[in-house]
């Protein structure tokens, strides 16, 4: 016995009918035809998701598009504390703060823009938020669009979701 030599299992030699190749091709044709017929008969067995009409169900903790939460009176819950743009590694959040008309609330965001083209969907903004004003639980990612401007989400679009 030579030391250090490992016996590797080799594929067995082909038998004569196998080496003729023709029989095996006919067998293969049977397999493909079986797949085709079963797919035609049972369309629901096909795994393809027909995307725009049917959407994949995302797992519950999936980090998708952002949304801003509202107070009971409909005003944004955000207090413009700048925690999320500070935490954001992609620097995609722009907030301009203003004085809130509500005496109970100090500040509110006049502008709250998220540049979805820069966002890396890390979820840091959600973790940083002290008042649960921003969430990423929409269950869907950014849809494609035809201009860059449309993919900078403003406060109105973010509040809608």
């Amino acid at each position: 016995m030579t030391i250090g030599v490992i016996k590797v299992a080799r594929p067995r030699e082909m038998s004569f009918p196998e080496s003729l190749y023709l029989v095996e091709i006919v067998k293969g044709l049977g397999v493909t035809m079986g797949h085709m017929l079963s797919n035609i008969v049972r369309q629901e067995g096909i795994k393809t998701i027909e995307y725009p009409e049917v959407r994949r169900q995302m797992p519950p903790r999936f980090r998708g598009k952002h949304r801003l939460m509202k107070r009971e009176n409909g005003a944004p819950r955000c207090v413009a504390c700048y925690c999320c743009p500070t935490a954001c590694p992609a620097k995609c959040i722009t907030i301009v703060a203003g004085e809130s008309p509500d005496p109970a609330v100090e500040k509110y965001p006049v502008r709250f823009d998220i540049d979805m083209l820069r966002c890396v969907f890390c979820g840091m903004c959600v973790e940083a938020c002290p008042c649960d004003a921003i969430r990423m639980d929409t269950g869907w990612f950014t849809p494609p669009d035809d201009t860059r401007e449309k993919l900078i989400f403003t406060i109105d679009t973010l509040l809608e979701k």
Partner: protein, 365 residues
Amino acid sequence: MTGPLFDITVAVARIAVFFAFCFGLVVVMTWVERKGAAYIQDRRGPNRADIFGIRAWGLFHPLADALKFLFKEDFIPDNAHRLFYQMAPMFSLAPAILGIAVIPFGPDVTVMGRTVALQIADLNVGILYLFAVSGMTVYGVVLGGWASGSKYPLLGGLRSSAQMLSYEVSMGLSLIGIFMVFESVRMSQIVAGQGGLLFGVVPKWGVLVQPLGFILFLVAQYAEANRTPFDMPESESELVAGYHTEYASFKFSMFMMAEYLHMVVGAAVVATLFFGGWQFPYLGDAGFLFPGGFAVAMPPALVLLLRIGAFVAKVLFFAWLYVWVRWTVPRFRYDQVMRLGWKVMLPLSLLNIFVTGLTLLLLKK
């Protein structure tokens, strides 16, 4: 109608109808290929193109493809040889179209007291003409590969020239058995010869008298049409897209049309030479006549329809077989293709000629 006018009308009508049939089948085959591939691979395939909201299982996709190709930029690379680059798609498509000429689509019919063959040209050299024409297809591929002025197309063109020339040899030799059995190279006579019965039981089709010749011819046809498993000139996994890498727009679609037309014509040739052409099993001029002496009389119009229908069904089956095989068998390595062509197919086709000749000689005695 007088003599010459009648002849011209018949000639033009035959060309128009058979041409339309083949090109219609080409369009359908592109859809069949995509949809069949999808279902074989557990996918859904094209189903988006629609006209007024009717999707019809993606049947409008060939139309959408054609429109897309028409409106794409007609691009010529800087390094390309401008004349040959433009000529290559024509050289590719023209031989494929010429092949339609000698295929009998049905038996002779009588129109206004005159006998009309359902064949564009019943040449006395028949199948030799087909060989001559299909020998020209290699020019389209080689010209396209060389004139593109790029590396991958050149490799594809080189491979295809070697492959197509090698398989042309065994393709020609594999049919000699058929010529010997039916004692003709005329397509119409080969079909007529397949109308009889073998041992009085089964139809005397080419596949039953020449089984080895059939397999060899079928394999050689696949190699000639550059279809997988002999996809050497294109081999998208190695050569990007082979000889038509640098082609875009309608020139590319001409290459595609040529490939599918080769499939259709090839299917028609296999059906004609080995599966009785327009012959329907046990169907004579007056109706069915089964071996047990059981007969069913039929009007001539129904017989004609059944025969043309039989031919169309055979063509459809063999056209589908091209697609079916493509999505079943993986591509051979280049050296395997060459070994199969020269070391297996060529000796086997020579053996086939020898055995056929010996059998015929012994039967005559």
